[in-house]
């Protein structure tokens, strides 16, 4: 992997990918000790408890939903896609950073991905789990969700393959499967390390089962590398395809503000933007709390901030083009849609979105901002909120004012919309806390490959 001695890299002499002085043994020890040796810190219990309590809100909402139906939420005609669909898009977007980091950056041999890929993949998986719940709960009769899959059913009919909602089922389920496989395959050598280092029998058996008999032989490594590369190849198109198809949910509809060819690239960029914001949001406190500054260095922070800036600019271009083509189309409905976004009942959402997503990331041009972790963290929060607002504006403003003034309406999320959203945040963090406690959050064996010790002298 190491084509050039990392410490001679002229551009990054001050901020290397990994802190100097680390060895194979110390890396393995430091990362595995978080799971195996160190006493579970008090903040972990506090964080887990809070997340778990919030998670109960989700269970409560879903139970209530199964009894009452989706009338529980604020959705109604004309706004039939309220917070359930916008939260779906928000969560699925967050997942994209994980896939980008693990697949595309692997194929591009970006070594800095090594210390954040495991964590980002876990985040992807957990975010997709949240996202998947929304459309299923939105079905009205979620217990019949399997009808979405084409199987030889007794009804003698197939699902509607011409509907983008159908494509969504395939896109999201493929995405979840490939992400889970990628994550698990990447974990196998580390499971073996944990198995060998665990002290008690039950943990040895548990990690041993997950390690699937990994012995670290040359043949194992050969097959492993091959499988990992193949999975990366499979996952690469998913970075683009998943959110493209999510954008089709809107773009295929003929509603002003939805029916635009810019939607796929604009959605994909937005997804990566939101995803990197979430990775930063989570890694900044984590590296501090677990003392992982040696692994997740300032170079990572800079790189992630730069990706955020780049995708933020693409998203900004998308907003400008939406407004421009609304005017340039000469279509009165398109013009009204843009005017309504800027001056209508949801204007404050639109302008808040512009401030969050176009104005805020401009600070990332400045190196001092990128180096200040507190500011970077705050920017990540603002971007996450901004991306939520973006989906709100897209979903709600187009639906609440369509072609016929007689069918205009307003949308107000109900209490249950919020409990479901807060509940999914709780579930997400519950899974994340369990992950950092029981699995190595940084890939141990991949870290070893980027150490100076791994550089073989010819």
């Amino acid at each position: 992997m190491a084509d050039e001695p990392h410490n001679l890299d002229p551009q990054h002499t001050t901020t290397p990918v990994v802190a100097p002085g680390l060895t194979f043994a110390s890396v393995t020890d430091k990362i595995s000790s978080i799971v195996l040796k160190r006493k579970t810190p008090i903040w972990w219990f506090a964080g887990f408890a809070i997340s778990f309590i919030l998670f109960q809100l989700l269970l409560l909402t879903i139970t209530q939903l199964l009894f009452v139906g989706i009338g529980l939420w604020g959705i109604n005609i004309p706004v039939a896609w309220g917070m359930d669909i916008l939260n779906f898009v928000w969560w699925i977007g967050i997942g994209h950073a994980g896939t980008l980091i693990s697949a595309i950056l692997l194929l591009l041999r970006q070594q800095w991905r090594t210390s954040i890929n495991r964590f980002a993949e876990a985040m992807t998986l957990f975010a997709v789990a949240q996202a998947g719940m929304y459309p299923i709960m939105h079905l009205g009769r979620p217990w019949l969700a399997y009808w979405l899959f084409p199987y030889p059913n007794t009804m003698g009919i197939w699902p509607q393959f011409r509907s983008p909602l159908m494509w969504d089922v395939f896109a999201v389920s493929t995405y979840a499967t490939v992400s889970a496989m990628f994550w698990f395959v990447g974990l196998i050598p580390d499971f073996a390390t944990l198995r060998d280092r665990a002290k008690s029998k039950p943990w040895q058996i548990l990690y041993g089962l997950l390690a699937m008999g990994w012995r670290g032989s040359a043949r194992h490594w050969h097959r492993y590398e091959m499988a990992y590369l193949l999975l990366a190849g499979l996952a690469t198109p998913l970075v683009l395809s998943v959110h493209t198809i999510v954008s089709f949910d809107f773009a295929v509809g003929v509603l002003p503000g939805w029916h635009a060819t810019i939607f796929p690239p604009y959605f994909v960029a937005g997804a990566i933007y939101a995803g990197f914001a979430m990775v930063l949001l989570l890694t900044i406190p984590l590296r501090k709390l677990y003392g992982l500054q040696g692994f997740i260095t300032m170079r990572h922070m800079h790189n992630m901030a730069k990706v955020m800036l780049a995708t933020g600019l693409i998203v900004g271009y998308g907003y400008v083009m939406e407004a421009f083509f609304g005017w340039y189309s000469g279509n009165r409905f398109e013009r009204f849609m843009i005017w309504n976004r800027m001056h209508g009942p949801y204007a404050e959402y639109y302008w808040a979105l512009i401030v969050c997503n176009i104005v805020t990331p401009q600070f990332l041009w400045i190196k001092r901002v990128r180096s200040n972790l507190l500011v970077l963290w705050l920017i990540s929060i603002v971007v996450s909120i901004g991306m939520w607002l973006e989906r709100f504006v897209i979903v709600v403003t187009s639906l609440h004012r369509d072609f016929l003034p007689s069918s205009w309406g307003q949308y107000q999320p109900s209490m249950w919309d919020w409990t479901m959203f807060i509940g999914t945040i709780g579930f997400f963090f519950t899974l994340l806390f369990l992950f950092i406690r029981f699995l190595p959050m940084i890939s141990i064996f991949e870290m070893r490959t980027i150490l100076p010790e791994a550089e073989v002298e010819e």
């Binding site: 030889p152 007794t154 009804m155 003698g156 198995r195 060998d196 040895q204 041993g208 699937m212 008999g213």
Partner: protein
């Protein structure tokens, strides 16, 4: 350090991984079979009635027309269940003292209808009308089977949507001439060219709509 797992675990692990595919396929297959089985659909299951009534005797042996009892089959959505008075038309005279018919006479005396057990129960979300089917060349036996051979009535078809669509997608394979509607013995034979052409000509004669109308959601789910 001692081994955590016994050597045999290797074989077990391989078995689980390969087995998973077969288990999954088998589970799907079993589910599909169970869904279509009479355990789920109620097909072939004989329904015991409060009176020991035999369709075989009345239709097969006596040759009573379906419409004598199921009077509204040509005019209404429901074919209709005969009133006790219909039974008594004959049974005032014949088998008038039979102990088997005591529930019928009791119903006649008190005016309380006999509580027949429904044999064919379509779900409420599907709209079905007997009269249109009978008028457009669908005979009784196409759906209800050889009622003239049923001592105790049972459901002859699955009543699942794929079964409905079999005909709605290709009515020419099932329709029969007007004279044969109440014929228990008539069976569609679509082997020769002439027979296939006859089915098609019947479809145009009855002016049966195309599959786009017959298989539109709202044709049956209104």
């Amino acid at each position: 350090m001692p081994q955590i797992f016994h050597h045999s675990t290797n074989a077990l692990a391989k078995l689980t991984i390969y087995g998973a595919i077969f288990i999954l396929v088998a589970a799907l297959w079993v589910t599909a079979e169970l869904n279509r089985s009479s355990w789920n659909t109620g097909q072939w299951v004989e329904r015991q009635q409060p009176v020991q009534f035999s369709h075989k005797h009345h239709v097969g042996d006596d040759g009573i027309d379906c419409r004598y009892c199921h009077t509204s089959v040509e005019t209404a959505a429901s074919a209709g269940i005969p009133s006790t008075e219909t039974c008594m038309n004959c049974h005032k005279q014949i088998w008038a003292d039979s102990p088997y018919l005591e529930p019928v006479r009791a119903s006649f005396r008190t005016g309380k209808p006999i509580e027949w057990i429904r044999v064919h129960d379509l779900p409420d979300y599907s709209y079905f009308n007997h009269s249109i089917h009978v008028k457009k060349g669908v005979g009784c036996s196409t759906c209800h089977g050889r009622v003239d051979q049923m001592p105790i009535a049972y459901q002859a078809s699955t009543l699942q949507m794929e079964w409905c669509l079999e005909c709605h997608r290709a009515p020419e394979n099932f329709v029969r001439p007007v004279s044969k509607i109440f014929d228990m013995e008539w069976r569609p034979v679509n082997t020769t060219k002439e027979e296939i052409a006859e089915g098609k000509s019947l479809v145009s004669k009855y002016r049966i709509q195309g599959a786009n109308v017959l298989t539109s959601c709202s044709t049956c789910h209104r």
